[in-house]
């Protein structure tokens, strides 16, 4: 459901820089369904791959299948992203705040001890320079924070300052897609745009500990995955349920 909901926000015209994990699956699914012309890039230097099966991550050569060209980071994160040619960044997150800023570096327990994760990689670059960004992550109350344990990648605002004032380009995070709901990040803050079929609205809100606005008329229900989408995910893209377990 998470992957299907994220894929639905990807457009056929997008030039998408795709991060590790769930974002890969969402991009692959969109490419295989409603957005066949969507062009995918991987930061390590892969242009327009069309992978047909599962992979262990962006550094797994199976993810590079069907690529039109290989290059380097100065081409993908440089000429394409810093050069203003990436319409969509697809990123995972450890934690996200109401501005759509992302933490992928570390979390602190109540005693203040750090537990470290993957760091930025190209995530900070993608968040800083894409025209728009989708965050794709599991819904867990610990993953929503009014103040991030570490602000790896800026969203629409940082400490109240808009990204344009900071010198950044593009819109920043426009939506956070989880396995329970879609949160749109508006200039005024996060809006609970839709909840997924079978989810209880109040419970979703209770599990989203950031200040959340409601759209006029309340959140809609996210369209359910089609059988075709399910089959592609289960049979081709993630048969061993590495990501969609």
């Amino acid at each position: 459901m998470l992957v299907v909901a994220a894929a639905s926000l990807i457009q056929s015209e997008d030039v998408a820089l795709v991060g590790l994990g769930l974002p890969q699956l969402a991009a692959q699914l969109a490419q295989r369904t409603h957005a066949p012309k969507m062009r995918m890039l991987l930061e390590l230097g892969v242009f327009t791959p069309r992978p047909s099966g599962p992979s262990a991550g962006i550094a797994d050569p199976r993810m590079w299948a069907g690529a039109g060209a290989f290059g380097g980071v100065l081409d993908t994160l440089g000429a394409m992203l810093h050069g203003g040619r990436i319409t969509l960044g697809l990123l995972g997150a450890l934690q996200v705040d109401g501005d759509g800023s992302i933490n992928t570096t570390l979390v602190r327990d109540e005693g203040g001890r750090e537990r470290r994760f993957n760091g930025s990689g190209g995530g900070n670059d993608v968040a800083s320079l894409s025209q728009r960004v989708l965050v794709v992550m599991r819904h867990d109350r610990r993953k929503f924070a009014a103040t991030l344990d570490f602000l790896t990648s800026p969203g629409q605002r940082v400490a109240g300052r808009r990204r344009g004032e900071l010198g950044l380009s593009g819109s920043g995070t426009v939506a956070v897609v989880t396995d329970r709901a879609i949160l749109e990040i508006s200039p005024e803050g996060p809006v609970l745009a839709s909840v997924h079929p079978g989810e209880d609205l109040d419970d979703v809100v209770a599990c989203t500990p950031i200040t959340l606005a409601m759209p006029p008329g309340g959140p809609s229900e996210t369209p359910a995955p089609t059988t075709g989408q399910r089959n592609i995910l289960r049979e081709e893209l993630d048969p061993d349920r590495w990501y969609t377990g």
């Binding site: 991550g57 380097g72 100065l74 992928t104 994760f117 993957n118 760091g119 900070n124 670059d125």
Partner: protein
Amino acid sequence: MSKVVGLEEAVGLVGDGSQVALCGFAITRNATAAVAAIIAAGRRRLRLVQVVGGMETDLLVGAGCVTSLVYSGGSLDRFGPLHSVNRAIASGSIEALEYSTLSLSLRLFAGSLDLPFVPTRTLLGSQLLEPLVAAGGAAVIEDPFIGHPAVALPPLRPDVAILHANLCDEDGNAVVTGPLWSIRETALAARQVVVTAERVVSAGSIDPGLVTIPGITVAAVSEVPFGGRPTAVFGEYEFEASLFEEHVAASRRGGDDLAAYLDRRIVGGWAA
């Protein structure tokens, strides 16, 4: 004229305290054989530089060879994080300077040309920036043309870069197939380059249009078939999941389990 030497001699260019740049990326094209030889040689106080860390980074840190790390993070893709690296940073046993992938690649690009610095718009607004400025690894400046804020990144010129190539000739002209992430910037920024290669051939037998790293920048070449195992080397072999699972389990547990794993693999290697 030939630069071909044994692996032990090649990694002899890495001394205690050297700033060593690694060219692997997560689970792909790690110079695991060269890294094992550096560990076996007992090198200490290494200062690592790597755009995206992977197995080679976790091995060197896990083996206690490292005092500092300049990187933009890293992982072993779905197999897990770099446990030894993360633990060493959290405990303060190594110092880490963290960039984004593009900003560190630009520091290495600046190093490769010895540019005074390179300005960028990335990193602005991130908590990554402040510690970089404090350490002299970045400065916030104004664009002299339109007055916008920019992050100036100083050149980075490591002592030695270690690269595992598909093919290399005796003069050091090295061929890397597949995506190149920051390999060229890293190798060209380093004062010396050590190449391990699946195959070493005589000078003049490689199409110059296929060469990724010009031999003129390479100090030593060593033929090491399967020198990237268990990571994936594009055009040669895939990654080996069970060996990553073994690595991650040992690295997560640390202590005696990690020591036993290193004892076993540093001597025995990962080749089939």
